[in-house]
């Protein structure tokens, strides 16, 4: 049965993420909100959430003793299904350009830049429900090929490798709604705030065998 570890590094409220995973699990598995690197070894699925600024979130993760090493060992090298949400997804990039120029984890090639929609009437943050189109079928989006998800962000992930952009949303131009490769996925939107579509995506993640 899946054991989900949601990494708690002081970034906002993780209660709804934990509850959404519990709902998606339907009692078949467990969810741990944890700040301990050792917990990742026991987990079958790893979730890195994040709200706020890129550098603050990165600092939060690196401040947890052994966490970045454990993430690398269990997810990047160990192949456990990994989901980054919002800034948790952005941290996978090589660099983030929010309030300075910061090195990211570098798991998915690309950088995080300020949203600059071509249409000047479009507001930043990009806030609300947007339709997400998958580039190619991916288990994460099974049954969700043109579903709506809830976004709230002012910066976006620009992947270097086109094939690593799993899904896109239109906001005055294409923006990465999901990125990933192998056992790693990240969503710019918040599945835990996206009602039935979000719960379906989390259930898909839990069933995924990358």
């Amino acid at each position: 049965m899946p054991q989900v570890a949601i990494i708690d590094y002081g970034s906002g409220n993780l209660r709804s993420a934990a509850k959404a995973f519990q709902r998606a699990l339907g009692g078949k598995g467990g969810v741990a909100v944890t700040a301990e690197a050792a917990a990742l070894a026991r987990a079958t699925h790893i979730v890195l959430p994040g709200v706020g600024a890129f550098a603050d979130c990165l600092r939060g993760v690196t401040a947890l003793p052994g966490m970045v090493d454990a993430l690398r060992r269990e997810a990047l090298e160990g192949g456990k299904p990994f989901l980054g949400i919002c800034v948790g997804m952005q941290l996978l990039a090589d660099r983030g350009l929010e309030h300075g120029d910061h090195a990211g984890l570098g798991w998915i090639a690309g950088e995080v830049r300020r949203l600059e929609p071509r249409d000047p009437t479009l507001k930043v943050p990009h806030m609300g429900w947007n339709e997400v189109a998958t580039a190619a079928p991916h288990p994460l989006f099974e049954g969700l090929s043109s579903a709506h998800f809830y976004f709230v962000h002012s910066y976006h992930f620009v992947p270097k490798v086109a094939a690593e952009q799993l899904a896109a949303a239109d906001y005055g131009g294409d923006i990465a709604a999901a990125v990933g490769r192998d056992n790693l996925v990240g969503t710019q939107f918040h599945p835990e705030k996206s009602q039935t579509a979000g719960l379906r995506l989390l259930a898909n993640f839990l069933r995924w065998r990358p």
């Binding site: 209660r15 709804s16 943050p125 806030m127 609300g128 429900w129 709230v152 918040h190 705030k193």
Partner: protein, 255 residues
């Protein structure tokens, strides 16, 4: 493409809904969590709790209601009323709110907005502006529209955006409760001059008013209370009406 948001608002006092849906199938119509569940199931795009008493004792009851709501409803929740300190914000966010709405304290101490945005991120800071027509244009009011703040609403909205607000909840105090529709001139004047999203509020009496708020007011989101609470319309009706009028909106109850 991004959809226009339709946001029902619940007025809460002492942790109880004072103006809410009169659904017959509610076990406890005064419980904000029960009402939130119905709106969630109906496909509302977000939900707003406004604590109109915002007293100290009522705060813990509200936090409990926010917590229970967040455990059952997987949709964005904004909570406003009596938010005065960074600790107020922290407690609401930890309880499960996604955004907090700040009004009086921003007027009293504008730098509070930048402190809050730096600490928690702009995405969770909504600035509520209560505006009224004045001989000079549109003025900002506090304390439920009773006290004039001596500020021009447009300049104030711009300043709030510059200080890090993530969105503006704009209420016309002239229209609030009248069912005459949004003050479209006010709404447009603010929306067209700030870089952040604006929620139009105050005065919705018909479904056409929701359409007007977007079409003629240029708002990114529309908020309504009484047309839903008294069972005049459902979220699904409102959404299909807006869709039929050509507004990009997420269909109710579709994934």
């Amino acid at each position: 493409m991004l959809k226009i948001r339709l946001i029902p608002c619940l007025d809460v006092r002492g942790g109880r809904v004072v103006k809410g849906v009169r659904f017959v199938d509610l076990r406890d119509a005064g419980d904000p969590t029960e009402q939130a569940r119905l709106y969630d199931a109906a496909g509302a795009d977000e939900l707003c709790f406004l604590d109109i008493a915002a007293s100290h004792e009522a705060r813990d009851i509200l936090l409990d209601a926010v917590g229970r709501t967040a455990e059952q409803c997987f949709m964005p929740l904004t909570v406003g009323g009596g938010v005065r300190t960074l600790d107020d914000i922290r407690r609401l966010l930890l309880a499960g709110a996604d955004k907090v709405s700040i009004n009086t304290e921003a007027v009293r101490r504008p730098e509070f907005v930048s402190e809050a945005a730096e600490k928690f991120g702009s995405q969770c800071i909504t600035i509520a502006i209560d505006a009224r027509r004045t001989p000079a244009g549109f003025g900002v009011y506090t304390h439920g529209g009773r006290n004039a703040a001596g500020l021009d609403a447009i300049a104030w909205a711009q300043r709030m955006a510059a200080l890090g607000a993530g969105e503006i909840l704009l209420t016309s105090m002239d229209r609030d409760g009248t069912k005459l529709g949004f003050d479209l001139e006010l709404t447009r004047a603010i929306v067209d001059r700030v870089p952040i999203p604006v929620i139009a509020s105050g005065g919705v009496g018909t479904l056409d008013h929701l359409v007007d708020g977007v079409r003629r007011g240029h708002a990114q989101a529309v908020l309504a209370a009484s047309i839903f609470h008294f069972g005049e319309h459902t979220i699904a009706e409102a959404k299909s009406h807006m869709k039929a009028a050509g507004i990009a909106i997420r269909e109710a109850a579709a994934p």
